[in-house]
Each structure stands twice: as C-alpha cells, then as structure tokens.
Amino acid sequence: MIFKTIVKEDLKKLFNVHLKDVECVGPKQVATSNDGKAVYQFLPFESFDEINLNHEKTEYSAKTYFLPFRETLSTFNFKNGDWDQEIKYRKQQRVLVGLHPCDINALVKLDKVFAKDLFPSPYYRSRRENTFVIGIDCDKPCTDGFCASVGADVVTHGFDLFLRDIGDKYFVKVGSDRGLNVLNKISPTDISPEERKSYRKKTKEFLAGFKNTIRVENLPNTLDIEFESPVWKKWGDKCLSCGSCAMVCPTCYCYGVSEQISMDFKKSEKVKQLYSCNLLDFAMVAGAHNFRPARETRLKYRYYHQHRGFVESFGEPKCVGCNRCGRACLANINPVDVISDLQMEL
C-alpha cells in the first residue's frame, strides 16, 4: 500500500476544481432529529461545502449507489408477436466520498456476492468499477456501532483512497492506481515519521474507544442451537415487518423482480426492487403458501443470514456492525440486544 499525506484544503480543491464535472456523492445534512442531532445522508453535492466529512454516520448506507432500490434489469420490446431483450448497465462515473470503515467493508462483502461469486452481476460490477470511492476513518467510534466486534473496524482494500484526519492534514492510503492518479492532481507529500506516528496514535485511540460490543464467538452455532429460542418470539412480537432495517443496512441485498408492461403495450420492463426478508410475502409461493408467515421467523432469518449463513459461505459475518438497522427500527430491535439475549440463553 502506498501512503501519502495531503493538506486538508487540497481535498476541497480536488472536488471543486478537478472533479467538478463528475457526479459526486457525500454525507449531506438533511434534517435535524428530535434530540437536536444532525441527520446525514449520502447524497449528490455540487460544492464541497455542502458535505461534512466529520459526520458521525449517515442514516442510510451507501449501498444504494451500487444496488439501487429500483433498477431496470432488462427491457423487452414487443413487435409482431415476437420480442427482443435489451440490457443496459449504468456506466457513468461517480465519486463517492466520506465512507466509513463499516461502509467500505460492506462493499467488500457485497463484492463477494455480486462481483466474484458463481454468477457475477454485471449490473453491480459496472457500477462498482465506475465508482471512485474515497473513505475516511472515524475520529472516534460512534455511540452505537459495534464494527470492532465483527471485524469491520479496519479497512485494507475496497477503496481508491482512504483518509484519516491527523490534525491539519489527511493521512491517505492509496488503494488503486486510479486513486494515485487522482491524488497526484493535488500534490500529495510522502509521509514523514511524525505523520506516521500521529496516524498510528490516532488509530490506536480510535480502536481503544470502543464500548459497544457483541460476543460473536461461536455465534453461528449458538444461532443453530437456539433456533427455537423464545428470544425470537420476544423480538418478533415487536417487529413491525416494515423492512426498514434491511433498507438502510449496507449489506442487505435481497430483492424481488417484477415485470411492468408499458401503458402503450409496446414494451415491458423487468424491474428489480430491493426487498427485505422481514416483509410478509418474502417467502410466499404460488397458492399463497407462505414458508414464513410469522414475524419472528422472518426476523430470525435476517439474523441467520447475517451471522450464520454468510459465515458458512464466506467465512465471515455479513453484518458490519454499523447499527443502522437498530437506529432505523422504531421498535428498537438492534443486533446488540438481540444477540446478547441469545448468548444469555446459554
């Protein structure tokens, strides 16, 4: 890995001058919550001043720029009783800035499913490869995240540039050749021994600051054994089955496909829509048979996928510990409480 430092002011220049005509997306404040906290969202911005890289955590994740909530997979054009199929990918360039370690690790996990698995998805790959990702380390752990418990507090790859605030400069990890290319526009300097020291000090402080943890040891087995645990009913009874958790989660990727004929009956679009395993008809099949009619079962399977299924397939949990799901959940169902409840069963 190549390491560099840049003057903070230069980052602004990078966006306002060099990346002026590319679509840039970053953490923008969209509202103020009831308790006075700023609410951030990854949204397109025109000028660097609109975003705040010191944001605690965005309300929703950045996954929507790779797995949009709605995407046309293909279009069927009808003519004379026949049809042809048209497939398009999004190829426009985009710069995504301000992703935290959890966000980048989430992308790395999505890569495993969508870019590298048995059936790589061209829709995903095309977006991923044409997105320039600039991450940034958190200054201190967020109040409710538990990324350290699931090994998502540190990033090693999956970005083009990765920053850490070390006072008046950013310490930059360069993750790709195009990253270096871009960085060279704003004359980075090689790191000095002091800068390395202060980077390591900052990182150490950050890692030491974690309070929120879950016990993940043996979790896959625990989940298996506790399949019938009353813990599921306890939380299932609270669940609104509204899908908010999966919508905001950076790694939830389930979807549904439906077809929509155009009003002139000349074509039909096959549309993918992100779905959630908590929604009532997720496992419903023809004849209205539902494999998971109960809220608790649906909720349980979300945890199974996060902490057991994914481990079985890829050797690591799918969850990156951002607790966005916990924040989004009106019923306050959050991984820390649910998992510690389960672990307590033992």
Binding site: S126, G256, Y301, H305
Partner: protein, 302 residues
C-alpha cells in the same frame, strides 16, 4: 468523462453480454440474457397441467444448452414474469426442451393461454442435479407424487435410456385420483420396457380404475431391496417425500442416498435475490436437488 478517473479499466458493455455457456458458469458474464425459444407443441396432461415442448430459436444456443437431470430453468414470459421450472425431459435430446407446468398463478396462467409458436425466454440451466453417475451399478427407486413427476421425468428418462448401467429399477407414481395422473398416455410404453417395475397408485379411485389404491408408501411394502446398494429419488410435495424417505430410512437406505427436489420462491436463480434462502442455503445454488440428510438439517425445509 472525467479524464483523471479514466485510468481505471472501465467495464465495456461487450464484456458483459458474452454468450452463456453452461459448465463454465463462473466465466459467464451475463445471466440475465435469455435464450429465445419457441413453443413447438403443447400437450394437455390434466385440467391443471400442460407439457410445453420448446425449441431454441438460435442454432448456437441450441448447441450450447446442455443440462443434467434435476436442474431447472428460469422461464421468462416477457410482460408477465419469470418462474423457475424443472426440466422435464431427457438430457440427451438436444433439439427440444420439455417443461411440465401447472397453472398456479400469474405467469403460469398466462402460459396456459399461450398458443403454439409463441416465443418465450429461457435462462439457465441452474441448480444442482441428481448424481446419476454415482447411482450407476446400483438399484434405483424413482418415486413421484403429484406434480413431482415433472422433475422426476428427467432422471427417469436418463435411467431408461441407460438401463444397462443400473440394477433393479422401480418407478412408483402416486396421485390423488386418476384425473390427476400426468403423462398417462406414456404408461403403456413404460410398462413395456423390459425389467422396469412401474407402479401407479391413486388415493381415490374412480369406477374405471383397476390399479392399486392407497398412499404411495404402500407400494414400498411389496418390494425387497438391498439397502446398501440402493439410491432413491423422491419428488413431490414435502409431506409426501418426508413419509417416503422416512420409510426408506427404516428400510435401511442411507439418508445421503435419497434425493429430493425442493421448491422455494425464486427471483433470480443465481443466489442473489435470497428469496429461496433457507438459513444459509440457497435452493437455487445448493439445490434444488438435495440429499435427504441435508434436507433434514435445513431448518424450515419441510
């Protein structure tokens, strides 16, 4: 395009639409592109089921499309939707694909209205298959209940075509009543094949029915098998295969030698949409064919 971002290789569209090829699936780049196929024949089997014979329109596609017994395709009806359907014919016949489809909902109902000559799309084949190679030199039990005969027909034709490779072959098929029997026009032919024990049983006979009556497990009473040298394929609704498999287990057949085919909701066939996910297992990638041991270990499978 911004020049400074350009240094990175940008995905080219041509890369993405490389033609499909089964068996090299990790090298395939786009699985959303359909093979176009024409419905060449429609055979009415019962009130609810029809057999559709399809032929690939493109000659290259036809040559490239190979499958193994037990695999399924995603059948696309542009404008209506896409449904997973097991391939219900012999893998050795290249020119034609047969799908036996029950009228169950939106897409399948539309298909039942379709006429000969209509053009549909096919993606796949997807999923695991029955281990026909392993089964060779053994006895085989092919057991189907109801619509289960559709997925069973592929391994069955395989066994028939390669009869010499197998020892004793039993084919058991059960249905609620005689009107629901699929492929009845073929029984005569199957009966005549030398040294195959074909038995058909119904739960509720009508006046014309002369065959055995009862549940399908009853047919197992009359046979003697060597459990160490026997493989079984059981297709049908979960309640049915549960009973049959447990019965076979009691007869001493190892659970890992019994195979079943599961059905789940599917929207992609490629292990992405998660709709068919059972805990950690994707029915479309790790299934639909599972051995009974795995099924018993899948929570919620039955």
């Amino acid at each position: 395009m911004n020049a400074i971002l350009h240094a990175y290789e940008v995905t080219k569209e041509e890369d993405m639409v490389e033609p499909l090829d089964y068996n090299r699936r990790s090298r395939m780049k786009n699985f959303d592109k359909c093979f176009k196929a024409e419905i060449t024949n429609i055979i009415r089997l019962t009130e609810m089921e029809k057999l559709f014979q399809l032929r690939m329109i493109n000659e290259d596609d036809k040559n490239r499309f190979t499958f193994l017994p037990g695999q399924f395709v995603m059948l696309e009806l542009p404008g209506y939707g896409e449904v997973p359907i097991s391939i219900s014919c012999s893998p050795s016949i290249k020119s034609i694909i047969e799908l036996c489809i029950r009228k169950a909902g939106k897409v399948t109902e539309a298909l039942h209205k379709a006429k000969r000559g209509a053009v549909v799309g096919i993606r796949g084949p997807f999923g695991t298959h029955f281990p026909m190679e392993k089964m060779k030199k053994n006895n085989v039990l092919l057991i189907a209940g109801g619509l289960g005969l559709a997925p069973l027909r592929a391994p069955m034709t395989y066994v028939i075509e390669n009869r010499a490779d197998f020892k004793d072959v039993h084919i058991f098929y059960g249905a609620k009543d005689p009107t629901q029997l699929l492929f009845d026009y073929q029984y005569e032919q199957w009966h005549r094949i030398d040294d195959i024990n074909l038995q058909i049983i119904v739960e509720k006979p009508d006046e014309l029915w002369t065959g055995p009556v009862g549940l399908i497990t009853k047919l197992l009473d009359d046979i003697a098998i060597d459990p160490d040298k026997t493989y079984a394929i059981v297709c049908g609704p979960p309640v049915m295969f549960k009973f049959v498999c447990n019965r076979l287990k009691d007869m001493g057949v190892p659970m890992q030698r019994m195979f079943v085919s599961l059905e789940r909701r599917m929207h992609c066939g490629m292990g992405k949409c998660c709709r068919c996910n059972i805990g950690s297992t994707y029915t479309c990638l790790d299934g639909p064919v599972f051995d009974y041991w795995s099924v018993m270990n899948l929570k919620e499978a039955i």
